[in-house]
Amino acid sequence: MIEATPNIILHAADVHKNFGGLRALSDIDLQIEEGKTHAIIGPNGAGKSTLLNVIIGRIPPSSGAVVFDGTVLTGKAPHEINQLGISRVFQTPEIFPDLPVLHNVMAPAFARRDGAFRVNLLRSIDSERQIRQEAEDILDDIGLHGRRGDHAGSLSRGDKRRLELAMCLIQRPRLLLLDEPTAGMSRHDTNTTIELLRKIKSSGMTKVIIEHDMHVVFSLADRISVLAQGRIIASGLPQEIKEDPRVQQAYLGGSVQ
C-alpha cells in the first residue's frame, strides 16, 4: 500500500517507464517534502522530463504509482491533476501563442476559480476585474507588463518561458513543477527568475525544479536528487550532493563548482 507520510506532499513509488526497449526510468522512489524546493539534476537523456511527464499524467508509467497528498495521480487526466493543485512549466514553452499576453495569464486563473468546465456567458473577460488585476500584478513581477497587449507568439524564447511561469504562478498551485525554467534566458533574466522563485518560496509552495545551471540549482534547492540513466543515484542536501563522489563521476565530470 502506498501511503503519503505527513509532510511528504508527493511520492513517486517504484516507478518504471520503458519506451520500447529503452528503460527511461527504473526503480524511481522520490519523495518531495511539502514547502521545499527539490531540484532534479542529471545529464541529458537521464529521464528528468520523463519523470515530470509521469507525475502530471502526460505519459502513464509502465509500473508504479505517483501519490499526491493522499490521492493517486496515476490514471488521472491532465486537467484533473492540475485541478488538484499541480502546475507545470514545460521544457519547450507551452503557451497560447495566438492570445494576448494578458489573456495567457488570465485563462489559468479562470481554470483555478471556475474548475475544469463552466459555460459562463453572462460576464465578459473585461468585467473580471479581480482576475485581471491579479494577472497584471504577476506580469509586473515577471517584467512582461509592458507587453500585455501583444500576442504571446511574438515573445522571445526567454520571455515565453517567463510567461509560462506566470501562467503557473497565477494558479497558486500547491506543487509547481519546473522543467529548465531558465534555459535560453540571459544572465539578467535568469537572476530575475531566481529572485521570483525565491520570493514564492516563502509562500509555502512546493517546487520541483529540473535545471542544468548549477548556479540556479544551488541558489534555490533545499534538496537535490541526481538522475542518471533513469535511476536516482543520489538524493540529499545540496552540500552532500556536491561532495558525493558518485555524482561527480556520473554527472559532473569530476567537480562541482
Binding site: N82, F96, F110, A111
Partner: protein, 380 residues
C-alpha cells in the same frame, strides 16, 4: 449581465443600422427585395453560428448543413402538428437541432483535424441520404415536407384559431403574417440578436477557453481545463444557430427539402466564413452576403444586359468585352467566386476583414499619428 464593452456596443449599433437599412443601401446593387434580403439575413445567422465553432476553436465542420435541414424539417412539423405561429416552430427547431448536434458532436469530437471534418461530413451525408430513403415518413422524400390544409395543428385548434381562409395557412407571429417586408424585418431582428449573442460569446471566459483550445490544446489540459465539454458546447451552440437559420428558411417559405442538407451547403458556409474572415465578428456576415449576392444577382446577369451596359463602346470592342465578361457572369458566376476565393485565401488569409484592417492601418499611418501607447486589444 447583458452589457457589452463600449467597443462591442459601437459595433452592435453599426451592425444593427447596416442590417435594418438594407432596403436602402442594397437598392443600387439591385438586391433590395425582401426575398433576397431575407436570405442575406438567414445565411448570415448560419455563418455566425458556424464561426463560433470554426472561428474560435479551429475545428472545421463539413457537416453543418445537417443542422440547417433538421431546423427546417422541425419547423414544418411544428406548423403541421402544433401551430402556424413561428414562436414554437423556432423554439423546437433550436432544441431539436441542438440535440442532433449533441449526438453528432459527441462522436465527431473524439477525433481532431481532418478526421473530425470527415466525421461531420459523413454524418451530414448520412442524414441527407436517409432523408431520401428510410426517413421518408418524416421528410416526405424528394417532394419535400409540405403544409396541408387538413394538418391537425393541435395548438391552434385548442385556441380556436384555425385558419378559415381558402388556400394553405401562412406562418404568423402573434397572428401577424410574416411575408414580404415583415418577413425581412423578422429575420433582420433575429440576425441582430444572433450577432449580439456571438459578441457575448467572443467576450466571455467561455470564448477565451475556446480560443485557448485553438491556440494550444495541450496547454489547456495542463492548465486544468477539460477541453472535451468545451468543444461539445461550442459544437451544440453552433448547431443551434444553424437550426435557427433552417427554421427561418422554412418560415419564409414553408417547406423543407433534403437538398438543404447537401454537402455543398455545408461547404458554402465554410466559404462564407473564410471569405469574410475566420474568427472575426463581422467576417462571416460579410462572407454570407457576398456569396448570396453572387449566387442570386451575378448569376442573373446575361449577355443582353452586358451588351446594354457596354453599348457606348465601338462595335468590335463591345463584342470582345462582352464575350470575355460573359464568362464571368450568369452561369459563370462560380468562376468569379472561385477566383475571388483563391485570391483572398492567398493574399488575405484573414479574409476581407483582415483586408479592411490592413487598409485602416495604412490610412492611419498616412495620417502619421505619433502614438507610442500600447493598449490591450483582445484578439479577434
Amino acid at each position: 449581465m447583458f452589457s457589452l464593452s463600449r467597443k462591442d456596443l459601437a459595433a452592435l449599433a453599426v451592425f444593427a443600422a447596416v442590417v435594418l437599412t438594407m432596403p436602402i443601401w442594397l437598392a443600387p446593387f439591385g438586391a433590395a427585395y425582401p426575398g433576397l434580403m431575407q436570405k442575406f439575413a438567414i445565411y448570415a445567422i448560419f455563418a455566425i453560428g458556424f464561426n463560433i465553432l470554426f472561428g474560435l476553436t479551429g475545428y472545421l465542420s463539413f457537416g453543418h448543413a445537417a443542422f440547417l435541414g433538421v431546423g427546417s424539417y422541425t419547423t414544418v412539423w411544428s406548423f403541421k402538428l402544433l401551430s402556424m405561429d413561428i414562436g414554437p416552430a423556432m423554439l423546437f427547431a433550436i432544441i431539436v437541432s441542438g440535440v442532433f448536434a449533441l449526438l453528432i458532436g459527441y462522436f465527431s469530437l473524439r477525433r481532431t483535424g481532418i478526421y473530425f471534418s470527415i466525421l461531420t461530413l459523413a454524418f451530414a451525408q448520412m442524414s441527407y441520404s436517409l432523408a431520401y430513403s428510410v426517413l421518408t415518413p418524416i421528410t416526405n422524400g424528394e417532394t419535400g415536407l409540405l403544409l396541408a390544409r387538413d394538418d391537425p395543428r393541435h395548438l391552434d385548434a385548442l385556441f380556436g384559431a384555425q385558419a378559415t381562409a381558402a388556400g394553405l395557412p401562412q406562418p404568423t407571429l402573434f397572428g401577424m403574417s410574416v411575408t414580404g417586408y415583415t418577413g425581412f424585418y423578422l429575420c433582420a431582428v433575429i440576425l441582430i440578436i444572433a450577432f449580439y449573442l456571438s459578441q457575448k460569446i467572443f467576450a466571455s471566459p467561455f470564448g477565451m477557453a475556446l480560443r485557448g483550445i485553438k491556440s494550444n490544446q495541450t496547454r489547456m489540459n495542463y492548465t486544468g481545463f477539460n477541453t472535451r465539454p468545451y468543444m461539445l458546447a461550442a459544437f451544440v451552440i453552433s448547431g443551434m444557430f444553424a437550426g435557427l437559420a433552417g427554421a427561418l428558411l422554412s418560415i419564409t417559405d414553408p417547406l423543407a427539402g433534403a437538398e438543404r442538407m447537401k454537402w455543398t451547403e455545408s461547404g458554402n458556409v465554410v466559404l462564407m466564413t473564410i471569405l469574410g474572415g475566420v474568427g472575426t465578428l463581422f467576417g462571416p456576415v460579410i462572407g454570407a452576403w457576398l456569396i448570396k449576392y453572387f449566387e442570386n444577382i451575378f448569376s442573373a446577369i446575361n449577355t443582353n444586359m452586358l451588351n446594354g451596359l457596354f453599348s457606348f463602346l465601338p462595335d468590335g470592342v463591345q463584342t470582345f468585352v462582352v464575350t470575355v465578361l460573359s464568362k464571368f457572369v450568369g452561369e459563370g458566376w462560380h468562376l468569379t467566386l472561385g477566383l475571388m476565393f483563391v485570391l483572398i485565401v492567398v493574399f488575405l488569409p484573414g479574409g476581407l476583414v483582415e483586408g479592411f484592417h490592413r487598409l485602416m492601418v495604412r490610412l492611419k499611418r498616412q495620417k502619421a499619428t505619433p502614438d507610442g501607447v500600447t493598449s490591450v486589444q483582445p484578439a479577434e
